[in-house]
Amino acid sequence: MLIRDLFRLSFHNLLLHKVRSTLTSLGVIFGVGSVIAMLSISEGAKQTALAQIEAMGIDKIIVFAEKPPPTSRESSDQGSVSESYGLTERDFGHINKMDNIDRITPLRNARKRILRGLRPLDLKLVGVGQSFLEDSASTLVRGRWFAPADFKNATNVCVIGSEVKRKMFTLGKTNIVGGTLRVEGQVYRIVGIIENDIGTQYPGIGSPNDLICIPMVTSNALFGNYAITREGRSTQISIIDYDLFIVRVLDIMHIDDTSKRIISYLQKAHSENKDWGLLVPLDLLKQKEQTQNIFTIVMGSIAGISLIVGGIGIMNIMLASVYERRKEIGTRRALGAQKLDILFQFLIETVFLTSLGGVLGIMLGLGIASLITYYTGMPTVYLWWSVVLSLLISSLVGVVFGTYPAWKAAQQNPIDVLRSE
């Protein structure tokens, strides 16, 4: 029998029972559909998370100040509270001298209230080191970054993040760069606007887009290491040298050793006082990838089980179909069909069924993924290899679970059909 005729015949038989064919392949449809949907969702989540981690820089170690939990004495006090915590000038010096350190970009939050009119905004005025623009993976969208002279002379200039511009200035306002900005009575000349479009987030500080950056020396000259904040009737004085170090290493291969050395130094220098934290984006990246792998294995197993269940369903229906079509099989054999012709006819039918299930499943899965993106805003990512793999696997399910019924069909005795019914 010609292969083309074989395919035509099998396809024709499936079309004959459209509803049954669709119902039969439901197992595969839902199996493949859920796999595709889950893969798209998890890949979307993964890429978002990875992009955020990566945005901090894989050659970076982020050391940050953490406010220690208040002791009972402090919290019961209604008057002024003074506390000293975070990263110190001494820490900066020590870490800077360690091996494999390229440079440290320090950052200090001045803890000023930023207002537009009377409305407080969730923005921060921070003193930053010269290398902040580059090491925070931000780009200059207008004006300039701080010049060496700004650091040398501690000038009152600032570079604002794109969100600062959006929140503090009227839409469409031009000549922001060159204008001024007032924070708690202090006036800064705006020299540039920066933007971070890859979602960098620093612990305790947030996105570079929400920052009003001034040179670290200006910050020191104006505020020293004090910050006075008032909340209700209580006044809080924080003494803090630095809130953040963006540590850039020379060799990524040794980033683990370097981070361990920083940790052991900080543990010693800050004794029991856990007023600091450290994260290595590269580690987070690896952890995230590991978690992702486990997730993929779990999902693969679920997919495998659902496809096996779907396959068994199809095998069951095909076996019933062989029984139901004994007369057809017998007649075909009498008219000259080889056993192989019958075998392939049924096998191709099953593979068609499961492949059809695969195609419908892929459509279902991609549909679910886009619905989720549409309604929840969760990013989903369509993976071409998952589509190809699903198709291959669903066809394979057809071969695996179709062989037995097809073999049964080929073994039918043609004599049965010649007996009068």
Binding site: D5, A337, K339, S420
Partner: protein, 243 residues
Amino acid sequence: MATMAENDSVIVKLAELRKTYFTGPLNVPVLKGINLEISRGTFVGILGTSGSGKSTLLNILGMLDVPTSGHYILDGIAVEKLNDTDLATIRNRKIGFIFQNFNLFAHLTVEQNIEVPMVYADKPRHYRKQRAAELAEQVGLGHRLKHRPSQLSGGECQRIAIARSLSNDPAFLLADEPTGNLDEKTSGDILKLIHQLNDRGATIIMVTHNPALEAHFDQVIRLRDGNITHDSLITFGSPEHVD
């Protein structure tokens, strides 16, 4: 019509053919040494009551079953030595089956039904279409090519089945009670069609339990209890037959 067979004109030859069914401890002999010769162009009737072994003989003649012992030579080929694949091929090329229940494929059109044996003979599509049209014309249903069996009468279905049996130019037609499911008038028409085919040279072996059909046959073979009790050719003096 039937003339005295010369050796090269013998199309079917059975010699000492036996078939025994082994059902557990019990051996059931169904054919007990059949000797038979059928010549090209003959219209043969195999008659017998149920249980006479005629179905088994039909299955063996149609190569759907193999004999336990003895010889079956079809058109010079020793069939008993063939494997399943070769049997299917010979069935396809040498035998045209006509069934009592027509056994048409309900979901295929008349044209596609006639094409089926040609499909298994790897005939190209355009040839099949052309041949199907010719055959449908030959059985008087050229205008019904695109119809399905459910749209045809019983007699028309059997005509289509006959057209299908002719599609690969077989050595003989094997008809199993072809008029068994038809009314008298339609039966007559079908028999007439079969006669016409026979007149054009087709060898036809018809199995029936209906003695009334006897007059139609050139050669009448009666079966009883697995033996041939009558072969009308004997009256022509066939030397090989002892009955």
